[in-house]
């Protein structure tokens, strides 16, 4: 079977995975303690009012019926309604997913842009000051909770130095937002050729992306360093040294290219870290993505948003892993896709 067939088969395998995810996310919301109808009814409610709301939310029906209503709604694109915003969950997601994606992608770029060079340099200059600094940075990124790093960066760059924008959204108040195409402000602004908005969007993205990127950078750096060390000891690199090839070409040409292959594998893992880290970083920077939305939904046990959030993360995972597998096959011809 060729490459195309492999992709189709993988995509078909997504279906049972997603069915499993809907069952789990549905079960999850029903296993959690708390009655969403009570929250919705408010403090002055009477038992009759709560019953009425339970009926309107379908909470009085048997679980299989509720599950069927949920899934059939899902197929129609109806994800339910959020109690905290009063809007269809789909509308909330349309507004928030791009913000989360933008932050995730930017953090991924930060992590790669800082993590890979650091890994390479610390392998090449093994046990030098630089290697130690990179190790400390890596450990620090993992050890320091991102809400703390985030606050620290805000305190220094926003409060003390005044070079970062206030944590009040994705654009400065006096900048007209670019026309919405992708919802990713940076890309929309670039596409519209709106320089002011582009700068403002990057400016607002700077600290959140740095915070989140820093938190997930460590595994990447360690992975690049380890493979790089291994490769630098390998026969073909030794042969290249012996042949008198320039150091630079050996390290950054032959060795680095091969060291980057495992990085693709780590990306899947890093993506998971990013999704989890998002929730915290979005809170700290008032970034209007899915993070705070999901937390509020959990606290008030709002079924629509919780189920949709779980589903969204699962779908993202499935596709990222698929992409990783495909990239891997492309990057390393020794790997056969079957």
């Amino acid at each position: 079977m060729g490459f195309g067939g492999y992709v189709v088969r993988r995509l078909l395998l997504v279906v049972p995975t997603l069915i499993g995810v809907t069952i789990i996310s549905f079960a999850l919301t029903h296993l959690l303690p708390g009655n969403p109808a009570l929250v919705k009814a408010g403090p002055l409610a009477t038992p009759e009012v709560v019953q009425e709301i339970e009926r309107s939310m379908g909470l009085d029906r048997p679980l299989p019926v509720q599950y069927w209503r949920y899934v059939s709604g899902l197929l129609r694109g109806d994800l339910g309604e959020s109690a905290s915003t009063g809007r269809p969950v789909l509308e909330d997601f349309r507004q928030r997913v791009p913000a989360t994606l933008e932050l995730t992608l930017a953090s991924l770029l930060v992590a790669i842009g800082l993590g890979v060079p650091l890994g390479v340099l610390s392998a090449v200059h093994r046990d030098s000051v630089l290697d130690h600094v990179s190790r400390v940075l890596g450990v620090g990124g993992v050890a320091m909770p991102s809400f703390w790093t985030g606050l620290l960066l805000l305190y220094v760059f926003f409060y003390l130095l005044g070079v970062a924008p206030p944590p009040l959204g994705r654009l400065a108040a006096d900048v007209t937002p670019p026309p919405r195409l992708t919802g990713l402000t940076v890309i929309d602004a670039a596409l519209a050729g709106h320089g002011g908005a582009l700068l403002s969007a990057l400016h607002h993205l700077m600290l959140p992306a740095l915070t989140l990127g820093f938190a997930v950078m460590a595994p990447l750096t360690r992975m690049v360093r380890a493979t790089m060390l291994e490769i630098l000891e390998s026969d073909y690199v030794k042969a290249a040294w012996a042949a008198g090839l320039p150091r630079r070409r050996v390290v950054y040409g032959d060795a680095l290219r091969n060291a980057l292959i495992p990085v693709i594998t780590v990306l899947g893992v890093i993506f998971g870290f990013l999704m989890a880290g998002n929730v915290v970083v979005e809170m700290v920077y008032a970034w209007p993505g899915l993070g705070h939305y999901a937390v509020t939904a959990l606290v008030t046990k709002d079924p629509g948003p919780i189920q949709s959030f779980v589903l969204f993360v699962a779908v993202m995972y499935v596709f990222v892993n698929l992409a990783v597998d495909l990239l891997y096959g492309l990057a390393d011809p020794r790997i056969r896709l079957r």
Partner: protein, 538 residues
């Protein structure tokens, strides 16, 4: 992909430069004087005036809709720029005047002439009737409050006498009627705009009004992006003089530490919400250059609910012992930092009829131990103390309580629950001890006691207190018009609740707002939610 060291450093230097150069300094610089920017952490849950639960919904409705009459606010001595409402004082709004008939059993509202909805249609007595009819019959607060508190059970009791005269006929005179009319739930919606959206299944267009504002008020909602911002703009051709602030921007900032930094950097004008800032953070902003704090006592009650249906809290001696063990003298400075008042009665200290001298309770651990001994309960008693996640003052107070309660024979486990769990467990009667809070929109002793102490108030009487004598007093007093008798029996009721130690009495909140020094015209009403109409920048 060739990255050598030199180009890596060049790249990083470039990135750093992008971060620092080329952006003007931020924070309060180029802001329009007639725009106010405030930070909070709430969204609009619904725009239906009958149904909102979230502060975001309430504040938006209170600023976008007028009510027939409104709570009057008056300047406070020694606090220039701030105003407060006082008991039993109202202002005309959509109704320019009001009168009582049948000894007060009928309230007649005279609709102000020449007031128009944004659609251009005049505001009439028919419109008021539509709003009240809707409140009484659509799901929401008024459907409960009208019949249970002031005996309005049928839409026939709302009467249009002519184009500009509306009357509400109650079964009996009731001193709470005016306050009930002043609630923001009675928002002036435009019937002609709403009716086309009504359906058979939804005759009051609740689905449509959830997401739309259709009526008259000083502001209109121009942007609602949940989790990001809400923007209000002054209504064109409004019947009162136009407000100073043409634009109100309410920014969603979920993290309290951010709100503090934003204030300190003067990037916002004010922090609002309940509570927008914990007492500790308000304290830390005292004396901060360029900021001022508005702090007045308020009616929000915080108390330790003791489940009277469960041993050992069904024993009055145990409940009294707990009241003697509450380290209130430590909680006030260490948890509330002075931004609160000690609770000495089930009634708020600003409510008519409040008696602050009935409570014998003060921290006295010996007396508490003595009472526990008299109760004859076997110690140690394992007990769970429930608090809600994110309620900072409750979480902190629970630790102080734990320490003292363990001295008198309890083994306290603090349980933190989410809102949804907390409410469910509370209503099922499965809490033993829990820290609850309550704020009465109507500042009346019987409104308050009816919800919190009457045995029929199943969802709000968190201690499950059942006392037929008190029930009878509440029932008789709800509509008592003689002020002396009304307040006299309030004293009797407070004595009963205090002697029975129904709650562990904790504290009343202060209403605090931290803002830039140039903001003035901040008003606090009984419902605690700000209206921006009178706010100004000097």
């Amino acid at each position: 992909m060739n990255i050598d060291r030199r180009s890596f450093f060049k790249l990083s230097a470039g990135a750093a430069a992008l971060g620092t150069v080329g952006f003007r300094p931020v924070g309060g610089a180029a802001q329009d004087k007639r725009t106010i920017v405030v930070a909070w952490d709430t969204d609009i849950d619904t725009l239906d005036p009958a149904q909102f639960k979230a502060i975001g919904g309430y504040v938006t409705i209170a600023n976008c809709y007028d009510t027939p009459i409104a709570w009057k606010v008056q300047p406070i001595k020694d606090k220039p720029g701030f105003s407060l409402s006082r008991p039993a004082e109202w202002d005309g709004a959509i109704a320019e005047s009001w009168a009582a008939e049948r000894d007060g059993a009928t309230i007649v509202l005279k609709v102000r002439k020449g007031v128009k909805f944004p659609s251009g249609r005049p505001v009439t007595a028919q419109a008021i009737k539509y709003c009240f009819d809707r409140g009484l019959q659509s799901p929401g607060y008024m459907r409960l409050l009208f019949p249970s508190l002031i005996g309005v059970k049928s839409p026939d009791q709302f009467e249009v006498r002519d184009e500009h005269t509306f009357a509400m006929r109650m079964e009996r005179p009731n001193p709470m009627a005016m306050d009930i009319i002043a609630l923001s739930n009675n928002a002036m919606i435009d019937p002609d705009e709403v009716k086309p959206h009504a359906t058979q299944a939804d005759p009051w267009a609740a689905e449509w009004l959830k997401r739309n504002i259709a009526g008259i008020g000083p502001y209109r909602l121009v942007k609602n992006e949940p989790g990001a911002e809400i923007v209000l703009e002054a209504t064109n051709g409004y019947w009162r003089p136009e407000p100073y602030f043409q634009k109100v921007v309410l920014k969603f900032v979920p993290n309290e530490a951010d709100r503090v930094l934003l204030l300190k950097r003067k990037a916002i004008d004010m922090v609002v919400g309940r509570p927008g800032l914990s007492p500790k953070n308000v304290k830390s902003l005292e004396g901060e250059q360029g900021l001022k704090i508005f702090n007045v006592p308020d009616t929000t009650c915080h108390y330790l609910a003791m489940n009277g249906k469960r041993a050992p809290f069904n024993d009055v001696k145990v409940r009294q012992a707990i009241n003697y063990a509450i380290p209130i003298q430590a909680i006030m400075p260490n948890v509330l930092f002075g931004y609160g008042t000690q609770m000495k009665s089930p009634l708020p200290h600003l409510t008519p009829g409040y008696s602050g001298n009935l409570s014998p309770y003060k921290y006295d651990i010996e007396k508490a131990r003595q009472l526990m001994k008299e109760a004859g309960v076997k110690t140690p008693i394992p007990v769970k103390l429930a608090v809600r996640v994110g309620y900072v003052t409750h979480e902190q107070a629970s630790v102080w309580l734990q320490r003292e309660l363990e001295k008198i024979g309890f083994k306290v486990e603090i349980v933190k629950e989410t809102d949804a769990t907390f409410r469910q467990v509370a209503i099922k009667g499965d809490h033993e001890l829990s820290i609850e809070s309550w704020q009465s929109w109507v500042n009346d002793p019987w409104y308050h006691l009816n919800f919190l102490m009457h045995s029929r108030s199943k969802f709000t009487n968190a201690s499950f207190y059942e006392n037929p004598v008190l029930d009878k007093i509440i029932d008789e007093s709800l509509a008592e018009t003689n002020p002396e008798r009304r307040l006299g029996s309030a004293r009797v009721a407070q004595k009963i609740v205090i002697d029975d130690a129904v709650w562990g009495f904790l504290w009343y909140d202060s209403w605090t707002r931290v803002m830039k020094t140039d903001i003035t015209g901040i008003e606090k009403r009984w419902d605690t939610f700000e209206r921006y109409y009178a706010a100004k920048r000097t």
